[in-house]
Symmetry: D2
Subunit: 300 residues, 4 copies
């Protein structure tokens, strides 16, 4: 079996809702038509930017199916399938695979933080990877989980034949370096944010899953390309240019800001599900300004 | 409409699983028969100790129904119904009410921590309380959620006619004092752990939801009673005696330790769902020792 | 040697500075004359409210001497003498003792947080207590140190003949209960804030070191007295009444707010040393309002 | 006035103590003779690795003088001069300048964490930079201070003519990118650890202050050189190779581990001042292994 090649940029696509608050397949289509025009490696659905915690199981499976149908043949579809329990994670992973996902992005359980020691996490991920018909990608997202998948746990899990990589949204580059230095063989690291895409690439990461790639796919692809071509100064310039907007649609403003940015660009953003509140006027103004500065929005 | 009186002790009952990993109604029956022998105010199902994050919606509703059927008539049944999305919380709350819950214990959404500002939480809880056919109890559990429901938010929510109280597991007694000092009218505070039951009572809390009450219901009831009778020295003695075992079944060992303690007492504990690991031998030994010291276990 | 009796209320007195930014003995005198009129157990100098981190060694010793001279004979003088290094702590403790301190309040070293494990802290405190001519009181202040003196460490240290108690400003009442339940013999716990004074007393604490006692000594003494007399309802009422102002002069506003409150009361507060900024107009307004509500300030 | 050029690698040198626990000038000489053999930009004294919090003012000044005397003419001497109060920081900075320091590394005050808002920090650093006869370098060290110098604060301070750069030990590369993207003009960023040296360089940092450079100066210089020459793969390889040992002498083992490593290499490490405990046998064994793997120690 050849390894699924994750090298490249993946937007973690937001889940758009219609007037009734239901998942909108037409809005998904609109956004994918935009993204399909860029040289992306594929898409992540049901990630943090996809409001996966607000979707029930049926909605999750349906979302995978919709995006699968809209996917250019050479692109990868990665689906977030992590749940708090191991059995729910296994079930959803199987269903996502059946619905067309190429790989599963599995966030670590975290409600019982104090109990999620190495042994628990190793058992959880090993069971999921054993049972999954598709490759598994670890997902570290401490800003939401309050937990950091530690280096030795990741290194041990990397030895599993069906665990092929990691999306690291933590931003601890020392840890990333330790993992990449300790793993011999194929384990593909993906930066979990455009905020540290270049630093991650400099350590050997193969790409990134970046919220920013939903609204600035061209700049993300360009940065990655510049790095691959050894044009480091250009990559550096792009990195420090995009980080302000990136911060607005991640740490500072989150999903509501990302969706508002999409609206500003004529894409289908819309409102997040409650309890998330839509971006307020001040945030929208800052987003518009940042989009203008990056020439993503036309100032006319 | 008269206020639901929450004064007293509530064990947040664990969810026992059978050999196939399914919710066991017979094990629930066994545990309730034990608890029914003590002067408790009622039971909480689907709380953190009930592994609610591992149960799907159907299992949750079924658990409410099972416990409802086993409940002495004068006791209250409180069901944990909080989900990440407002709409799921509303739906589950309605279903729990239909299944027989007297009140809903609603943990705050927390995956999008940085977005859960006061306005978001106020909207969430207000919608839930508006839509709920049964009274709502706020649930603050920062050890799991990584968020602290702040004082002013609670005080504002306390003004809603259908929000009748709060289970505070955070243990910030200054905050609890501020809330109780700021609220005029009926708002019933419940200590979320036996670890600070007496301190909470000293501030005006009306009782507690305590994991420890599953294995030491008598001591918890006795402490509460001593406080009510003004026998403060006895209450103090009980408080400092129980806190060691309490720590083992909460912060130090969590649900696995609570279930292991129940096994040691001849109740139906059993294993938690993965990824939670069962208590190891060392922890079981410490639990046994602590149960012996409190004469909950016979040393013969 | 009879045990130094710490039962009662201690204001941790702020260090007032004159126009040139030097420690002002006349301002200290003015404040002590006010405090001497209340039934306090004594004073703490060089605590967090005394801006001890801004004072050099000579200033610290001088401050002890000044307050010693103003102290009624039956009152205790406790001096904060904790430094990052063990040897500096020993030296300052000896100097404070020579200058007239009755006991030393020793905050744990904390700059090298990750290294301050139990063994390091045990060695540190044991050396200090061995070398100190006066009794040592442990000082837990996690809001500033980022470290929590854990229960087993405290319990072990309590076995040292020259470690007589603890000021716990952490507010973790479960931990306080565990310590008080585990220690057999004389170890005197002091609440480190008026925010949880009654909860701490309910567990067996003997009193408190409370910033609030600088501006509301009467209320603090009254609360303590009500508790001792078994008038629990009165104590509860006082506790929930004072906690708002207490929060303003501790967590919310800190030393600048405490000093501003003293100015409002006609005492000698003045400005803190930079980098601390004086309380701004909005905070002063809130302080005035809170002082009025507690009738500490006359509304005429 | 031409800008002090910080481009390059700086070891933050440990302070060695003699048998009596006093600063040892002979040990400093031994270590500097070793370091002088590598192409380093200069040295940092009185940093976190220099145990600055354990040294009194006289010892600090003396240490600057000793190292000044041992310094090759073209190298820079940077002295840590941050204290909790603004006035102490100003005084020590002046004294360090007089003793021969070329620049001052100023950690932010942090005891009163909740008060250290932007306005306080701006005033503090502005006063220090105004009064300092030598250029000031900001020092962000959240692992010890519990505070993170935020991006906008740094950007504002970078506008001061006498604030020439920053040592960032926080490892938040997104923030570093934001700062470097926002500042126009000369502001020199230094990675505060070898753990993310290459990621920082990739963003435009000019070098690093790295504990590891005390024991592996050659590798650190080589990594920096490879980056400058555009040999990115070699830089990546070096980065992931050194990060394990780096972790041992920073986050995992700290100053005691760094000193123990120096002992293993035949340099003058010795014991840290209490309360820091010397590295234990297990840690020494891991250090030896890591030194062997990097061929810093001869396996014969």
């Amino acid at each position: 079996m050849s390894l699924l090649d994750l090298a490249g940029i993946f937007p973690p696509i937001p889940t758009p809702f219609d007037q009734d608050g239901e998942v909108s397949s037409s809005a998904l289509r609109q956004n994918l038509e935009f993204l399909n025009g860029y040289d992306l490696r594929g898409y992540v659905v049901l990630g943090s930017n996809g409001e996966f915690v607000f979707l029930d199981r049926e909605e999750k499976v349906k979302t995978v199916e919709i995006v699968r149908d809209l996917l250019p043949s050479e692109r990868l579809l990665i689906a977030g399938t992590g749940c708090e329990s191991t059995r729910s994670t296994v079930r959803l992973t199987r269903e996502a695979a059946k619905a067309g996902a190429d790989a599963a992005l599995v966030i670590n359980p975290h409600y019982y933080k104090n109990r999620m020691d190495r042994a628990s996490l190793i058992r959880h991920y090993t069971t999921v990877a054993d049972e999954s018909p598709i490759p598994v990608i670890l997902y570290n997202m401490p800003a939401s989980t309050g937990l950091e998948l530690d280096g030795p746990t990741v290194v041990e899990l990397a030895g599993h034949a069906n665990i092929i990589g990691m999306k690291d949204s933590g931003g601890n580059l020392s840890k990333m370096a330790q993992i990449l230095g300790a793993i011999h063989g194929d384990f593909q690291m993906l930066a979990g944010s455009a905020g540290f895409l270049l630093p991650a690439l400099s350590l050997g990461a193969v790409g990134g899953v970046a919220a920013l790639a939903n609204i600035a796919p061209g700049l993300c692809v360009e940065l990655h390309g510049a790095f691959l071509k050894g044009e480091l100064q250009q990559a550096t310039d792009l990195q420090v240019r995009i980080v302000g907007l990136n911060s607005l649609v991640t740490r500072e403003g989150g999903v509501p800001a990302l969706k508002a940015s999409m609206d500003l660009l004529g894409l289908a953003g819309g409102e997040p599900r409650p309890p998330l509140l839509p971006a307020d006027a001040l945030l929208r103004k800052r987003l518009k300004q940042a989009l203008l500065e990056l020439s993503l929005l036309d100032s006319r």
